[in-house]
Amino acid sequence: MVLEATMICIDNSEWMRNGDYSPSRYQAQADAINLICGAKTQSNPENTVGVLTMAGKGVRVLVTPTSDLGKILACMHGLEIGGEMNLTAGIQVAQLALKHRQNKKQKQRIIVFAGSPIKYDKKTLEAIGRKLKKNSVALDVVDFGESDDGKPEKLEALVAAVNNNDNSHIVHVPPSPSALSDVLISTPIFTGDGEGGSGFAAAAAAAAAGGMSGFDFGVDPNMDPELALALRISMEEERARQEAAAKKAAEEAAKQEKVGEQASSSQDAAMTEAVDTSAVVADDKKQNLTDDEAALLEQALAMSMDGAKSTSVDITDADMSDATAEDPELAYALQMSVQETAKDSSSQSEMSKVLEDQSFVSSILNSLPGVDPNDPSLKDFLASLQGQSETQQKQKEDDSEKGGDK
């Protein structure tokens, strides 16, 4: 909510015709500028923003600092691309425009979009930077487009010369399929100097980054402490359940691998893995379903698990009959593992208990005011948890496989 007057320097030189940023460098720049103007004017209603172009026939101020967003957006239309960017003149004119701002209480800030090569040397840029720092003007630079030798270093030197207490930033944006504005949303250029962002910026960041805007669970503990607490509790419960499930699955995998020590062992392992992953995937899907569907799925899951169990047991029976005759040790091991698989089926029921727990947890989530279990950010987060536990499981299986092979 800092009171600021901002001048945005647009690069409308010939280099902006390039299409390496979609749809074109100039268009990507224009979109980013629209977003920045919106963010600035929203974060504090007394903020003013002005725009000038650095290329074309010369440095031209399109609109002096104003808080009227419509005026700013209108002046961005019909700009001609051409000429060469004059960085130093652009910055100096921006400084002059800021000097004559109406409200002297506003802090001064210049945002420069540098897309074309820079023909000035480092010394000149540093001198300009020092002059800005002396007059307490902050500078943000967006380095995109052309990246010839020395351009990033020159711009870094410029920002370092201006920087006073972390008020100036530089962002290097390489060409990528994602839009320039999306990349900028999460940078301090948008979010302001470490305030955590205005509502606009934070909401946009949340939408773009899937809820991880710097806070746990995408919810600000200051804004909604009960929700944050409830989400944290449910995450811990989920984690405990995942660990228990992972442990059971790993044991299961170990037992079933011991049982099928011959060629079929790999089949079993594959099947157990398939069973485990299907269990995990099913759990994953569970999160997204309502309680009714969850119960149905649980049933189907139990049935499929029993089915898999029986087929594996059949295979192992076949193996047992073949191998027992030859290897009494193997027979003993098979016997033991059969007993343990019996135990496993009981653990299976424990697992289903935990699954019910899961539905209990999701019912908790349902009952919490304001929590939508189908919230994409929540889903993503829980899915990532699943993914983590999946990789944990895979690791455990690999370890137990190695142990089994030895």
Binding site: K99, Q102, N103, K104, R130, K133, K134, N135, S136, N164, N165
Partner: protein, 203 residues
Amino acid sequence: MSCLHDHSCEDHNCSADWSLHTHIDLSKVSALNEAVAGSVKSVFKPWNRRLDTSEGFLESNDGDPELLVFIPFTSDVKIKSISVVGGSGGTSPSKMRAFINRDGIDFSDAQNMQPVQEWDLNENLQGLLEYQTRYSRFQGVGNLTLHFPDNFGGDTTQIYYIGLKGEATQLKRDVVATIVYEITPNPSDHKTRADAGSLAHVE
């Protein structure tokens, strides 16, 4: 210890004279080219603490001895004299230029404008020197801007204390804030007695 006042300091409490610091609006004091943002506020304190640097002091950025200090007051004051305590080793300011009642001066303005008064300073490490003002020009001061363009050869300029002597009036200088006149005229706001009964009617 000699004092430039015409009495010995042990008898007379000098700090009572340098009382204008209580009328300074400290929250709005600002400086340009200070190395540490906000350090300018430590420079305004009672006279007996003028050599106390425990709360920091005002220093300019490396290699650049210029300083610009903006001092707003809570009520209009009359300034009789100014005292500046600088640092040792050439870091004391050598010149001082004063502007009154002007908002938002920056370095280019300060260098081009004619000051209300300017002084050549001497090194004043004990804070006993004071510089008198042309009193008639310093009546009704709402804010004071001090520009220190140069120092005695040091890399930076350091200022430990700025003292102001004078009187405070209880008046507040009337500043015309941003006034929004009519953006589009509304004739109904401008009815005159003649219009009230006429047949013609302006929409």
